[in-house]
């Protein structure tokens, strides 16, 4: 008989013994938020799609193939690459959920395509995604950090940048269309993706902070330098990518403000301060409104809106309230 004692003990996951409450909190959030593209009535956008110019249609399909590539990478490489570094068994379980939802996201772009576009248009765009130097450059940069042997914390940084920064040059466009009452069902689907990516970036960033706080000061400083320089590198590529895509409709500067704003939020997920100054992050209010369309928009400090009235936002009750 073989010597079994020398081997590591395979352990069953016990969700009733948590080392980190955040794992259960995020697991619950992600599982409750589960969705599939079939839930969104994309075919209602067929008429709206017909009102876009051929140039606008090509742009939209290209943007969505670019997003598909990022989701594919996160599904097949990014989230699985984080699993060996998981600090708790529950974190591994959460990462399997993240990986699967990335597959749902990647799949949902194809649902949009099959609803709105011709096969040829889509095939052309996938070919474009393989040949576009900027899209390929950002994908390669992230994949280098995901590669076996790379630093586990650098992998997390790259992953947060993908989830919380790189998607936004693409997400801008459906928010832009939505603000003009175009492709509104597609925008609803994209908002579900945005919601998921926000949880992913938050959670991976949180795990990064937990792991980084255990390191000596010098190593923490080196990681921070790495994070900011990777952000610079990705930002340079993103600026060129955005210009190539959006110059045609004159939106590049608007997209860049959105990139700066999201780069700062990605850094906040890692616990870092902002990189871009406030003046560079003034996102078009129509885009912000498209991101959170039904949320209340009152501000007592500036005297706008009514502060006591809750509109149609979900009146949530929690049994824990005593009054």
């Amino acid at each position: 008989m073989k010597d079994f004692a020398a081997q590591a003990i395979p352990r069953a996951i016990n969700w009733n013994r948590l080392q980190d409450d955040k794992d259960l909190e995020v697991w619950n959030r992600l599982t409750v938020n589960f969705w599939l593209p079939e839930k969104v009535p994309l075919s209602n956008d067929v008429q709206s799609w017909a009102t876009l110019t051929p140039e606008e249609r090509t742009l939209t399909i290209r943007v969505f193939t670019g997003l598909t590539l990022l989701d594919t990478i996160q599904n097949t490489v990014g989230a699985p690459a984080l699993m060996p570094d998981a600090q708790t068994p529950h974190e591994e379980a959460v990462l399997t959920n993240i990986a699967f939802m990335e597959a749902v996201h990647a799949r949902s772009y194809s649902s949009i395509f099959s609803t709105l576009c011709s096969t040829r248009e889509v095939d052309d765009a996938f070919r474009w995604s393989e040949e576009n130097q900027y899209l390929q450059a950002k994908a390669r940069l992230i994949l280098e950090e995901y590669a076996a042997g790379a630093d586990p914390l650098k992998r997390k940084i790259a992953s947060v940048f993908l989830e919380s920064f790189l998607f936004y040059s693409g997400f801008y466009l459906p928010m832009h269309w939505s603000s003009r009452a175009k492709l509104t069902n597609t925008a609803d689907l994209i908002r579900l993706i945005i919601r998921d990516e926000a949880v992913h970036g938050y959670y991976i960033g949180y795990k990064f902070q937990r792991a980084a706080e255990k390191l000596p000061e010098a190593e923490r400083a080196a990681l921070k330098d790495f994070a900011f320089s990777l952000m610079f590198e990705l930002y340079e590529i993103e600026s060129l990518y955005a210009a190539e895509l959006y110059d045609g409709i004159g939106m590049t500067e608007d997209v860049k403000a959105f990139l700066h704003y999201n780069a700062n939020k990605a850094l906040q997920n890692l616990g870092y301060e902002a990189l871009f100054p406030p003046a560079a992050c003034e996102v078009n209010p129509a885009i912000l409104a498209a991101l959170s369309p039904d949320s209340e928009n009152h501000d007592f400090f500036s005297g706008s809106g009514s502060s006591y009235v809750i509109g149609k936002t979900i009146a949530t009750e929690d049994e824990d309230w005593d009054f």
């Binding site: 919601r195 902070q209 906040q268 616990g271 949320s295 501000d299």
Partner: protein
């Protein structure tokens, strides 16, 4: 300081970083239910992040609900600032709205994650003005 600031921040530390940058001094509602809640004896503004699911459930952290369940603490609450992430769409900073509704106080404003420099400046100024107005109505 005559008026208070109370906040909750989970392990991600976003709200804690915002409050530190605000530099006004504030009491933190602890993450662990076993830890004692901070003593409250002056009127205060509450800063609360949001943890809602897609339907808005679970927006207000349990520990904040527990804190507000005490009528004497609730009586001193004057306003709430909601924190969150616009990427959550309709539920962005929802906890502020829910607390305002439950406790019948105004939502003063909202901000994202750990706030921006602009948020810090406008909320510092807003709080100063708010407490000024609050004092004059009490005279």
């Amino acid at each position: 300081m005559t008026n208070g600031l109370v906040y909750y921040s989970s392990g991600s530390g976003n709200t804690a970083r915002f409050v530190a940058a605000l530099g006004l001094g504030a009491s933190r509602i602890p993450i662990r239910p076993a830890d004692p809640l901070p003593p409250i004896n002056v009127p205060y503004v509450l800063i609360c992040p949001t943890y809602a699911d897609g339907e808005g459930r679970g927006a207000v952290p349990k520990q904040v609900i527990r804190f507000l369940n005490d009528p004497s603490r609730r009586a001193l609450l004057r306003g709430v600032i909601g924190a969150g992430n616009r990427n959550f769409g309709a539920t962005f900073a929802l906890s502020g709205d829910l607390i305002a509704k439950k406790c019948k106080v105004p939502v003063l404003t909202r901000f994202e994650l750990a706030g921006t420099q602009t948020d810090i400046a406008r909320i510092r100024a807003g709080l100063e003005q708010f407490w000024g107005a609050e004092c004059s109505t009490m005279v």
